[in-house]
Amino acid sequence: MRNQRDWLAAELERRGVTRREFMGFCAAMASALALPDAAAAQIARAIQKTEKPVLVWLEFQDCAGNTESFLRASRPTAAEVILDTLSIDYHETIMAAAGHQAEANLARTVKERPGGYIAVVEGSIPTGANGAYCTIGGRSALDIAREVCGQAMATIAIGTCASFGGIPAAGPNPTGALGVSAAVPGVKNLINLSACPANVENLTALLVHFLTFKRWPDLDHYRRPLFAYGKSIHDGCERRAHYDAGQYVEEWGDAGHRAGYCLYKMGCKGPVAFQNCPHIKWNGGTNWPIGCGHPCIGCSEPNFWDTMTPFYQHLPGVPGFGAASNIDTIGLIAVTGVGAAFAGHGLIQIMKRVGEDAEPVTPKTEEGGQQ
């Protein structure tokens, strides 16, 4: 823990990041976090003074997609700095150590810094077969999560699997997979960064917020940060004018598709999916799925593998979606509506699952939250 003060300032200098660029980054973060302009200075002050934060990154029933997303951090330069210069004490995909030496790294962090590290969880946690559906070093994912998240200062469930169970929990959920909040109730300062995978820019902004204010930003009722999940895809979509004008793609590659018409009729779930994709896009702002002519599949929403499928069947025509709508009403309408539309595809089972799983992700059953 020596030479910790101002590590970021020194790191920035070493990497040739100018003060101006750094302030630009802080301003961008303030904007991403929907904070007033004045917050940029506060962010700059705080993250230059902060200690190098320790992170342990656990992978359970995952595909490493969030890890890959994390490795793609590319904008702005200072964001890379922040991510690169976290102390990532444990991360199976990138760490040099293996076997018991790797496990020793994790054990040391938990033992030496109880309450002093951030746990990131990727992948769902299976509860079937006594935990044998996912073991690491002979221990079950549930056992590891209880210990590591239980003693973390905060836990980030990254991706929809860790947030809500994701694809392993899709019907019939063969392994009894759950998200972190449901598998390990009571985890302190838990935040869900859902999406399949989560966008690294949101992780950056989230960490910047935490380093600056020592607490998570405001959350929605799924414990997702409002700065990233406060508005629907539809509200920010570049094709929205076509939606409002009734101009829809009817067939893949038709004139409307080539002209960038709305993808609603091809199955777009943008109206019921909450995330800032249209604003920040992907891979350094290069593109996003709707920019590639493909409908949104609603990957940020709980149970989307069941409630948003079939992906290419359009949403029932529910009027009144718009900037003023909020997720509580829309989500309910959408789930009910989609369920009814797919009555032939196991509606009862899906509705039952939605009802069961909705409970544990609400914040009221958890302690902590925003401090």
Partner: protein, 568 residues
């Protein structure tokens, strides 16, 4: 005899555990176990086959395109969909980019630390590193100042006292053989490659909306419209962007990756004598060159048996079957049979020890992977299999590149059947593809110019156009090897879905006849100088580029099983 357990095997995708019997400093026997199961095949049952690619894609977030491609091809094969020519080019570009990016990331970020000692790099003389770098490549980032900067940055990092992901590794292990200067060069390129992959993979965002988990696939085509007059479609600007991304990627591969690979391999030539494996190689082939029903392939498919490189056999899809005799599944007909994927069953039945456990019962069932066999024999898949089959088939550029590498290392073709051979084959394939991608971009540009904007076979989109019952298979060469999905469709919904993936071929456990899988076989005879730090096991396992989503574990953290370790 002592049992060495590596769990987790890190720097891979997925959860993998290796148990090995070590005697006299050599691995005498080995067991490979995948310790995670999600059941995506079961989750796919009863769903719309047009959605399957998105589910299957989540099997892996590293090779984020490969299961989508295999799934789409399987469904298209079943329903008789015929995508137009642009789709072949778009998919070839996406597949090629996946392979090039993945191989480079594997070399530098997942494998290099088995050969490169970061701590040793701190004592390097930047001037000497500079002359070394300049002697092997004209890559511009090679001045003494540059390398001094990298060394100082790593030094500052080490001195800060938080080694993060580099803590507690095998630094200083006698099996590391590079001089400090070569280590420093490799560390610099580890960092450069991290930046490189972020930039290059923007190609996937351009053609797929995002990476990981691209979202422009469709059964029957692609969702990316083509129209030179639209800002919402692939246009002339996109072509220019693609050309630039491909050119920069090629530059890095040819001027950094390949020279590094040859330089590092030069210090580890004895690894051409380790990690032999089962000696049978299987490749489906990839990169269709035309739009006929059975197109010519840029990288040919075929089978090589018993390391006989005088000929290849033609692949026959009917000969693929899977055993579960040592896997935590049940078959209705019992454990001794093997089933073709069209008749495949996925019925999980865990019979191993209740976690937390110290040891698996390796005499019984010990893995979540099945044991695929071709004509009842184990097969190695991956870059080595592909390059061997292409070499023996006489693919001209592969022949040229393989012979060039063998000459540079001054070894014969038999050296390819090894840990080092796998690493070399991966590099050769990367160069081959990095050179080829430009032609696919040109193909797209030519179609665009000729006014062919088609991206989808819409005639087969509506399920009412499908037969009531249909079966299909989709074959693909993923970076890690031969991948196939098998789908049975009835009344427009998926009735059965089976995936036989590269890591199942390579990492699968023993079959009903007790024959080892390729990882297990390749580990036999591997030297282990220090059973507490079995870097040699990692070298051979990593040479396959395991893709399980995180894991081979040697030795448990609590309750050491190793006793009486004789270090020779």
């Amino acid at each position: 005899m002592s049992r060495v357990i590596v769990d987790p095997v890190t720097r891979i995708e997925g959860h993998l555990r290796i148990e090995a019997e070590v005697d006299g400093g050599v691995v005498k026997d080995a067991w490979s176990s995948s310790t995670m199961f999600r059941g995506i095949e079961l989750i796919l049952k009863g769903r719309d086959p047009r959605d399957a690619w998105a589910f299957a894609q989540r099997i892996c977030g590293v090779c984020t395109t490969v299961h989508a491609i295999a799934s789409i091809r399987a469904v298209e094969n079943a329903i008789g969909s015929a995508p137009p020519p642009n789709v072949r080019l778009l998919r070839n570009l996406i597949i090629g980019a996946q392979c090039v990016q993945d191989h480079v990331v594997h070399f530098y970020h997942l494998h290099a630390l088995d050969w490169v000692d970061i701590v040793s790099a701190l004592s390097a003389d930047p001037a000497k590193t500079s002359s070394l770098a300049q002697s092997i490549s004209d890559w511009p980032l090679s001045s003494p100042t540059y390398f001094a900067g990298v060394r100082d940055r790593v030094k500052a990092f080490v001195e800060r006292g938080q080694l993060g992901p580099f803590a507690n590794a095998y630094w200083g292990h006698p099996a590391y053989r590079l001089p400090p200067e070569a280590n420093l060069m490799a560390v610099a390129h580890y960092l450069e490659a991290l930046d490189w992959q972020r930039e290059f993979i923007k190609l996937h965002a351009v053609l797929g909306g995002k990476n990981p988990h691209l979202q422009s696939f469709l059964v029957g085509g692609m969702s990316t419209p083509i129209d030179p007059n639209s800002q919402s479609a692939l246009n002339a600007g996109t072509i220019a962007e693609l050309k630039q991304l491909v050119a920069r990627a090629r530059d890095f591969v040819v001027r950094v990756y390949i020279p590094d690979l040859l330089a590092i391999a030069g210090f580890y030539k004895d690894w051409a004598g380790h990690g032999k494996g089962v000696g049978n190689y299987l490749a489906y082939g990839e990169y269709p060159d035309d739009d006929t029903a059975s197109p010519a392939l840029f990288i040919p498919g075929g089978i090589i048996r018993g390391r006989d490189i005088s000929k290849t056999e033609t692949f026959d899809a009917a000969k693929v079957t899977e055993y579960i005799s040592h896997s935590w599944y049940d078959y209705q007909q019992g454990d001794a049979v093997s089933l073709h994927p069209f008749k495949g069953e996925t019925s999980p039945n865990y019979t191993g020890p209740t976690p937390p456990y110290e040891r698996l019962d390796t005499d019984k069932k010990y893995s979540w992977l099945k044991s695929p066999r071709y004509a009842d024999e184990p097969m190695e898949v991956g870059p080595l299999a592909r390059m061997l089959v292409a070499y023996v088939s006489g693919q001209p550029r592969v022949k040229e590149l393989v012979d060039g590498v063998l000459k540079a290392l001054n070894v014969g073709p038999e050296a390819l059947f090894s840990t080092l051979g796998r690493v070399a084959a991966r590099g050769i394939e990367t160069q081959l593809l990095a050179e080829k991608m430009d032609a696919w971009v040109d193909g797209l540009a030519a179609n665009m110019e000729a006014g062919d904007f088609r991206i989808h076979d819409t005639s087969k989109w509506d399920p009412s156009s499908w037969p009531a019952e249909a079966m299909g298979a989709g074959f693909h060469e993923a970076p890690r090897g031969a991948l196939a999905h098998w789908v049975n469709i009835g009344n427009g919904l998926i009735q059965n879905y089976q995936c036989v993936v590269p890591s199942t071929w390579n990492a699968g456990p023993r079959d009903a006849k007790g024959r080892r899988g390729p990882y297990e076989e390749a580990l036999i005879g591997t030297p282990v100088a220090d059973a507490e730090r079995p870097i040699e096991i990692l070298r051979t396992v990593h040479s396959f580029d395991p893709c399980m989503a995180c894991g081979v574990h040697v030795v448990d953290a609590r309750g050491r099983q190793i006793t009486d370790v004789r270090v020779s």
